[in-house]
Symmetry: C2
Subunit: 527 residues, 2 copies
Amino acid sequence: MELAMERHLKGESLREGQSLVADPRLPGKCYPAVIDNFILNGPTVDVHAVESFVHHAMEMIMDEAVKKASDVQEKVCEWRSPEQLKELLDLDLRDEGEPESKILQRCRDAIRYSIKTGHRHFFNQLYAGMEPYSMVASFITEAIKTSLYTYEVAPVFTLMEETVLRKMIEMVGWEEGGDGIFNPGGSMSNMYAVNLARYHYCPDIKEDGLVAVQRLVILASQECHYSISKSAALLGIGTKNVYMVPSDSRGKMIPSALEELIKTAKSEGAVPFMVNATAGTTVLGAFDPIEEIADICEKYNLWLHVDACWGGAALMSDRHKHLLKGIHRVNSVAWNPHKMLMVSLQCSAFLVRDKTSLLQRCHSAQASYLFQQDKFYDVSYDTGDKSVQCSRKPDAFKFWLMWKALGTRELEQRVDRALAMARHLAQAIKKREGFTLLMEPEYANVCFWYVPPSMRSLPAGPELWEKLHTVAPVVKERMMKKGSLMVGYQAHHGQPNFFRMVVISPQVSREDLDFVLDEIHSLGKDL
Amino acid sequence: MELAMERHLKGESLREGQSLVADPRLPGKCYPAVIDNFILNGPTVDVHAVESFVHHAMEMIMDEAVKKASDVQEKVCEWRSPEQLKELLDLDLRDEGEPESKILQRCRDAIRYSIKTGHRHFFNQLYAGMEPYSMVASFITEAIKTSLYTYEVAPVFTLMEETVLRKMIEMVGWEEGGDGIFNPGGSMSNMYAVNLARYHYCPDIKEDGLVAVQRLVILASQECHYSISKSAALLGIGTKNVYMVPSDSRGKMIPSALEELIKTAKSEGAVPFMVNATAGTTVLGAFDPIEEIADICEKYNLWLHVDACWGGAALMSDRHKHLLKGIHRVNSVAWNPHKMLMVSLQCSAFLVRDKTSLLQRCHSAQASYLFQQDKFYDVSYDTGDKSVQCSRKPDAFKFWLMWKALGTRELEQRVDRALAMARHLAQAIKKREGFTLLMEPEYANVCFWYVPPSMRSLPAGPELWEKLHTVAPVVKERMMKKGSLMVGYQAHHGQPNFFRMVVISPQVSREDLDFVLDEIHSLGKDL
């Protein structure tokens, strides 16, 4: 029987819709090919059922996720403890599948119990709000399902990435141009900076490793993002070799302290090779003085990287770009359009001023099955070997489409409006009894304490700090259980827990900020 | 005027839809707050216009991307050179935005000129096909827009990741359980393995760096994925310190050669600390003999990592899981459900057998603003500090939803069917004149040469190899320009360029495989 079938393997193919099992009496018709009991003729998937499911799911996403996120009457979150949520979601994966109606219900539940980060009262992270153009672009990249390593398999997205990078490089002010790549998150971009700086200092490390090299030192402010330490750990440099430069009371790196630490490292026989300046620190939104730091880096011949993941958006604004004055002098920049510019997660650019293919040389491994050199097109468009990843998402498209839709001017307006909003919030806080501003905001971070009435008469001192420290966590718990609001809090350099509000989205209005202060008071006034 | 306004800042808030500029004659009404010329009252975004745009875009994605991908009459690709495509796409980003109709057209163009990786005749990568459940899940994660670092901001996805990891760990066979995390790609997972193995060998490296440490050596087969070398470069180990173990003619690591190289490294005074075995090599689909390698790793006390990014899917199959025999003995596994199991890109799991929080200890940086310890819920659910990333996509949800919909049995069936299809293709190739199989497929990779009639009479030897080497690139160029098919090719260890077909999707039938062979012949017969 199997032999008989195999004699027919080269026979006429089945046409779409034709019966799988052909009539053996008819000459020229195709017997089914069977291996391991699988009939291999014809597809096994019902295309129409698939389309119907996707269609219904899209309607549901529209109703449950998109529309509800923009309705301020909806809850920000529907809090459940891990134990409760496990019960509700019926997480177990079983041998048998479930019908589509059940799967649609599961989708609905997943949305319901997820945080509505697009809600106007979500201020918990350095991203927020729903941006329709980049969201649609992200749907397209999911439907297209490709990976950004070769032009061959991602022609459109390769060119869009190049365009967006060039435009961002222009805004940084590198008149000679530069190079870059989008990464899955700003931590990766900062890691790239460390690796490139190291490769620039000593290319042999790529092949030989760190064994024969003197102890390498990175300098960064004490306010820098934790990814600098994570990078030092991962790259074999060691977290102890990240020298933390003191910051001033506003959270800005003190240049003279930087120079002192460079000298210290050298006197220890170590090799400082890179300085990380931060443009928009995570907690305070502080900007390190790039110009003065660049002078020092030039003097000591150090790679200067700016982590502008959060603050880079200010480069879009004529009014605010002075915050990053001097950035055209630096070697590399990390900038996440998924934060202040509201591109869908993730959209993180790493930019480098070098024009000698440093990125490619530092990271390339020249896989022969992917980056063939005998292709019929210009393989300089195969950018994947610049990355330490293999498959990589086409994140730049999300920014490109949004930028096309809004234009540079509207992006600028949004940044300006968000920062105006932060100043308004700071003014409002100063006028409210029981609210104390940590400091005037330099950027979009507004940090403040809420002091409940019972603590307002206490003198400043350890007793008050200790009590105050417990307020934010309780108010946070209450806002989440009520579902009315999400704002982040943290302790910072020995100061008691305070709230950090970040205003990003153009959906947010002054009324929402009033609501935040009212709600915090209402939730915490009995403490 | 500004003072007057500020006196009203605490006044009654505007209700939805109320005029922005309140009547100053009416007491209790709210004046607009203006800062930097921005009126901050009321949102600036027209919610209904947004919803209408998203709705139209979703319809367009359904028609252009989803439906067309499943229509075999459509082209796989609409090839344009980079220069042509730049013209067609009008990439420039301008000051002014564009109307929605224009943006929808841009979306349509982006889809049109992208590769249809969901098409039944796309065989170019180790991913292919459209999987509706994971695609819908990916739409949901985009609409929800969150990051998987804390339970607070991603409760549903945190629990789903835990569930999926536990199930995958079960399939690996670690009866005591283990730990894991989803990463943006298998390269990252392999990098995690190197870092964990190193941390396990010497935890001090995290803080101190590699300065005081002896030269570290990784052992991997010559067929291993290039991410092992990339990891060695990035982690400061050095690419020269990846010792490439010879493979046999089937592409499998030779255990005795591994042991020899371990001895060599030791005799050089270096410290071998990790072996990378590959389950499903990229080109040949070969499986290293895990059981024998595990014996050697136990003998020399080395961390054994299995890169099962491609071959891990066989663990779903009772019939084929013998390919990974011994995997329950290894220390860590990388497994990409986005390959053979067809989950939307990216979905890459890193699994580790350790139960002592090695992943957390190795990668953590304890950021105070994100991983506060005074939260009101069990912070062991805040898994973000296990990652070297900060923001991280909730990729596990895509697998979870698909698994719920299909059940374990259907996943198994799909793997079995794909591997049956590969065997069928190999049989068909052996029967066709002018097609030569490189070797019997062990997995889903079917590697073969197409020999045009003009070369069929040439004796085996350098002249034939040289001519044959040029065939695949030309056929590839022609198939892409015609848009009929995409299959990968490469040279390998001095052999002339050959095609590598990988069969994955249940949409693919035996007729499609016949089409592939017919089409390659038709495109290359004049060469």
